[in-house]
Subunit: 289 residues, 2 copies
DNA sequence: AGGTAAAATGACTAGTGAGTCAAGAAGCTC
DNA sequence: GAGCTTCTTGACTCACTAGTCATTTTACCT
């Protein structure tokens, strides 16, 4: 399980630097210090490897922002900015993954990867939508696509700047900056000075994605369940062991088709601990409906 | 010369759809209806082909916007919007080229292509800079990088939307939309309500590009010379012939190392026509310093 | 029609890289 | 340490493609 991670990291590094097509499985194997055959015992194909990379890193970068969104203590504006900040911090942490992501070049139109990108975009948009509505209420709806589109483009381009420039941008400042720009643009729309260009019809490819990922209230509940488990674990004696188990559950759950039996087994390990039982059951309900 | 163009178009189509690495020279040849050997008599290598594609299309899409910038009749705000509009029109016209461009995946770090992209980015930024200063004067300087960066990202992302969505966005509306958004953001900076994040130091990679492409006044002069020639040609009887000659000059001049003798010869053909002589000489001064 | 120059062809070479698998190494059990 | 299983290896196959070049086809001229 450790070597698997080492492979993912080496692959991200190489692919981020040279691109998918110009990185051979041999080079990845060499970089980890194992043989090609061994590599293929972890990942049945190059495509599977890249899919696993996305599965592994996507959440790592983005999910933390969603969790911050649930903190509830901060006022909406601050929370929105904090979420961007956390996301940018994640981006700095996983620079080479982001580099790889931004190259965008992958295997020849993999069904799986496409739907993953789709899901991811949908998630980003539904997150933005929620924040916009929290900030401005339903009256922002007619302008939401334009705002979301511009926000997404500004966000993405600053991400690009961040990972290419050695000169590090401060995530906190950047978070506030972006939210400030959104506010200006939103106010202009609300004042009726700009007309929206985009509508539901035109943005259907993106809203489909938003439905597909599941109503995002359910996503929110899942996040809460995760959070509850992690927080309770921190209060326990053998924190390390339970963290390991929970991380393993998390990993399994992120797979495109998680093994239900493995999940049940792992969750059982959590439920064994009396103090964790309630949280574990809640999590189980979210993960195995 | 016609077949060369056919190859470029077929290649753009295929590469735009499937990517550079997943498009073989054989497929391009088949698509044009010629043999691979023939293909290689036009382009000595795959890399040369892709470079030629960029050389062929880049100006086609962007230079028209620069020319509009010289029209002088429109007030700054309108002109800026019109320039975006013209650019978006170009993008619609050369959709598959833009698709190819946006994929960004090319031969393994070609020296030539990289410097071309660099030049292109620099040109975009210097164009934006000029327009911002025309609109707001020198007082916009401290905020120019943030504005340019956000503008560029919004512009690029709408471009992406345009080429992927069948549902066509109206270039005119889009042009006005973008300029309006720039205005809002600029006014917020000027009112001192937002602080800039980016500075010359951080953006050096981009400003270097701006210097390299040549002081942009000289670029402007060249554009003017072109325009004068084209306009005079429209008043002539055998318009068609002179257009062909001028287009050939334009083509040659866009090559990375234009053949000076060919240029002189072609320009001579223009100078033969008494009414065109002045314009042709001005153009020659710009093209062959 | 015959002859020559130019253009087009596609079989061929050489290199690369994904994926396989028989053989060997390492670990484990009694 | 013998006998077993599991992991690891790297040489090998197979498919693909950039680029070449001897041969054929076409075009043009007399």
């Amino acid at each position: 399980m450790d070597k698997r991670k080492a492979i993912l990291e080496a692959a991200v590094e190489l692919i981020g630097a040279k691109g998918y097509t110009h990185t051979s499985m041999q080079q990845i194997a060499d970089s980890v210090g194992i043989s090609k055959g061994s590599l293929y015992s972890f990942f049945p194909s190059k495509e599977d490897l890249i899919i696993s990379i996305y599965e592994h890193y996507q959440q790592l970068v983005f999910e933390r922002a969603f969790v911050v969104g649930l903190d509830g203590n901060l006022p909406p504006y601050e929370r929105f900015a904090k979420q961007f900040q956390v996301q940018f911090e994640g981006i700095l942490e996983y620079k080479s993954y982001m580099k790889m992501q931004m190259r965008g070049e992958t295997a020849q139109s993999s069904e799986k990867l496409e739907s993953m990108g789709h899901r991811m975009r949908g998630r980003l948009f539904s997150w933005l939508e929620r924040n916009l509505i929290e900030l401005y209420g339903e009256k922002i709806s007619p302008y939401k696509w334009d705002l979301m589109w511009m926000t997404q483009s500004i966000y993405t381009s600053y991400t690009g700047l961040m990972i290419s420039s050695e000169n590090e941008l401060d995530p906190k400042k950047l978070g506030h900056h972006i939210v400030r720009q959104i506010e200006i643009l939103a106010n202009d729309f609300l004042a009726g000075k700009s007309k929206p260009l985009l509508d539901d019809d035109m943005m259907r490819p993106f809203s489909v994605g938003m439905d597909r990922e599941g109503a995002f209230t359910s996503f929110e509940k899942r996040e809460k369940a995760w959070k509850a488990v992690y927080e309770k674990i921190h209060t326990l004696d053998n924190e390390h062991y339970f963290l390991e188990v929970t991380n393993r559950i998390s990993e399994e759950s992120r797979k495109s088709k998680p093994d239900e039996l493995v999940m049940r087994g792992l969750l059982h390990l959590l439920k064994e601990e009396e103090t964790l039982r309630v949280e574990a059951i809640t999590l189980e309900e979210q993960l195995l409906p």
